[in-house]
């Protein structure tokens, strides 16, 4: 009896699957693959997935995407790659071959984007990455001319932190002693390496330096040792859980520094929600021009549609790359080669301002450092974006 029920249910499920109408002609299938589980799921849930939802809603609310004079509504197919590059690649194949998606959005994070670049290239899909930071844009675009980089490179991001601290030092807000820590993975090691040389060249002295393994549950020994070195500034190239943990330890230990920098997740709305006004003056990776009307309007819609605020770094960039794709498709239709040529040849008006890729398919102007000032994470250093504000000295934690 039980087995029969099961068979009946299975048959029903199968039939339901089969009888779902093949998408009507006036809808376009959009494929998206990114982590919903695994180590990077938390970041993707803030910066990536809400933008997919928002973009599709926005386009459909306008009546759809105009392709060759016809309005087409968007329909999303989402896959979870479990933060596993192998799964990302499989999902892209599935989206193209099985689901027949006409548009495939780029995946999430540096690692998964780089891992999936060859498969996007093989299908000739325009891949406007929005969450990958790499200094190898030139090599990448030579090998995969369909790949675009918009979030910037590790080198400028580390140098941005050095620039912000140098400004504070010049103003006399901080001395020259720096405690620098990093998470022991490719991201942390690369940024710390670049930053260390640049800090020393800028006349800083590194009084404490260490790395800690990804997923360390107790960072209080790190913070205690950093505090014991009596630094004027604290810099951490950290990932989300450790960004939160280091900030909390700094508050508990009452680390008195004129500049406090943590990396990924500092720009997350959850950061200020958790720590409140105590983190005013904290510097972090990312930034946006919070005063630009385009961003303000985008943030309000993000809140209304997804129920959450965007972060102050990658969120708007993710949405901007979708806008680039949207504008290109409306201009030249669904031919991938033509879309890629159009992206290369034009500048686009987006929520982060003008997005114009250079000869290496790289967006040369991006935010590198932001700072919490009065409850808003404002951009303080960039490679040519408008609207940067002056960094201020970090006051006490209370």
């Amino acid at each position: 009896m039980k087995r029969r029920t099961f068979t009946a249910l299975a048959t029903l499920a199968l039939m339901a699957g089969l009888t779902t109408p093949a998408f009507a002609q006036d809808t376009l299938k959009v494929g998206a693959v990114a982590p919903k589980t695994g180590p990077l799921a938390g970041g993707a849930a803030v910066s990536y997935w809400p933008n997919v939802k928002l973009w599709v809603e926005d386009v459909n609310a306008r009546g759809g995407l105009k392709v060759d004079g016809k309005q087409m509504k968007l329909e999303v197919v989402e896959y979870d790659d479990q933060t596993n590059p192998g799964e990302t690649i499989k999902a892209v194949q599935r989206l193209v071959d099985q689901d027949q998606a006409q548009i495939v959005l780029p995946p999430y994070s540096t690692g998964l984007n780089l891992a999936a670049a060859p498969i996007y290239a093989r299908y000739g899909i325009p891949m406007i990455t929005s969450t990958a930071t790499t200094d190898k844009a030139a090599d990448l675009s030579k090998q995969f001319p369909n790949v675009f980089i918009s979030l910037g490179g590790a080198q400028p991001i580390a140098l941005g932190a050095v620039e912000a601290l140098t400004k504070l030092k010049a103003k006399g807000d901080i001395g020259n002693k720096i405690a620098m820590v990093n998470v022991a993975d490719a991201f942390g090691i690369e940024l710390a390496g670049v930053a260390k040389k640049a800090f020393e060249a800028a006349g800083f002295q590194i009084v404490y330096e260490t790395s800690y393994p990804l997923g360390t549950q107790d960072l209080s020994p790190v913070m205690k040792a950093a505090k014991a070195a009596a630094p004027d500034a604290f810099v951490a190239f950290s990932y989300p859980p450790d960004t939160f943990a280091l900030t909390e330890q700094a508050i508990v230990e009452d680390l008195q520094v004129g500049a406090f920098y943590t990396a990924v997740a500092t720009a997350f709305p959850g950061y200020v929600k958790r720590f409140g006004p105590a983190i005013d003056g904290v510097l972090g990776i990312g930034g946006v021009n919070t005063e630009s009307p385009a961003f303000k309007e985008y943030a309000a819609r993000h809140m209304a549609v997804t129920g959450a605020a965007p972060d102050f770094w990658a969120s708007a960039v993710v949405y901007s790359t979708f806008q680039v794709l949207e504008q290109s498709i409306e201009a030249v239709g669904l031919d991938n080669a033509k879309i890629i040529a159009h992206i290369k040849g034009n500048a686009f008006d987006t929520v982060i301002g003008t997005l114009d890729f250079d000869d290496n398919n790289n967006n040369p102007s991006f935010w590198t450092v932001g700072q919490w000032q009065g409850g808003v994470f404002k951009g303080v250093a960039s490679t040519g974006r408008e609207g940067a504000v002056e960094p201020i000295k970090k006051a006490g934690w209370k």
């Binding site: 020994p221 909390e248 720590f275």
Partner: protein, 288 residues
């Protein structure tokens, strides 16, 4: 001194993570790979009550524990009881339980994603410095440590001295003989499993005050719990506590004196050494 206290605090956290699994694996004989998901669920409950209603996580615990107890009892009855019934040997039960709970861990992650989304959930509760013997520590870690002491102490007293505790230890040592002296093995195993789940969820609620969790972080805690339970000796409360404290002290010592980058290496080195010297764990009984 500073290293010792920081290490003990971390050890207390580890004890909270591992104690539930010890009950489930040691007493109910279910190697529960979905243990970490239960912990994250407990943490989520604390987060939700704190952000939505400003209810202190220390109070939430009193709600989380009974709910988790009931949920785990149901999980045991629905998914695991059939395995116990059909298992011909302990080995077979272990394999079946691992496969089933491995699947359940995915269900757990999926449910939490569906209900709460994949975002990090982190909040600040009692992240104020407390001065102790000339040094500062986070109040939330002290609270969690205190709770760990209370929970582990109560469990140990209960298992060592109460009639039911003795019965539970009996089913852990010799389930077949226990039946001969009139112990209802099935009911007690379900109870031990449910209790383990309640302890795990309570631990999750407490550690969420200082750790940043998301729906899919459970597996990290399952692994840590597994290492601690095996190091301490399966089915022994004292073993788990000692192993947890040892691990906390060692990690803090290495992080403070040598290099924070070596904490993981040191932890697993300790694990390997214990396995080499005492394969049954610190307090484990030799299997015959």
């Amino acid at each position: 001194m500073d290293i010792i206290i920081t290490g003990l605090l971390l050890g207390g956290t580890y004890a909270l993570i591992a104690m539930g699994l010890n009950l489930q694996y040691g007493m109910a004989r279910i190697m529960n790979l979905a243990n970490g998901e239960m912990l994250v669920a407990g943490g989520f409950a604390a987060f939700w009550f704190y952000t939505a209603g400003a209810v202190s996580p220390v109070l939430t615990v009193f709600l989380v524990a009974p709910v988790a107890f009931a949920a785990n009892w149901l999980i045991y009855m629905i998914f695991l009881r059939p395995l116990v019934k059909r298992a011909k040997s302990r080995g077979q039960l272990e394999v079946d339980a691992i496969l089933t709970t491995f699947g359940l861990s995915f269900v757990g992650v999926g449910l939490m994603l569906a209900f709460f989304g994949g975002d990090y959930f982190s909040y600040s509760y009692l992240s104020v410095p407390v001065h102790l013997l000339g040094d500062t520590y986070g109040a939330n870690r002290l609270v969690a440590f205190g709770a760990a002491v209370v929970i582990c102490g109560a469990l140990w007293l209960w298992l060592a001295y109460s009639r039911m505790g003795v019965s539970i230890r009996a089913i852990a040592v010799a389930p077949d003989s226990a039946r001969l002296v009139g112990i209802d093995v099935r009911a007690l195993a379900a109870l031990a499993f449910a209790l383990g789940g309640a302890v795990t969820a309570t631990g999750g609620a407490l550690i969420s005050t200082f750790l940043t969790l998301d729906a899919s972080t459970g597996v990290i805690f399952t692994l840590k719990a597994l290492v601690i339970v095996i190091m301490g000796g399966v089915g022994d409360v004292r073993g788990t506590v000692v192993a947890a404290l040892l691990l906390g002290l060692l990690e803090t010592f290495v992080a403070s004196v040598i290099d924070p980058g070596l904490t993981l290496a040191a932890a697993y080195l300790l694990f390997v050494i214990i396995l080499l010297v005492r394969p049954q764990g610190l307090f484990g009984r030799k299997t015959t």
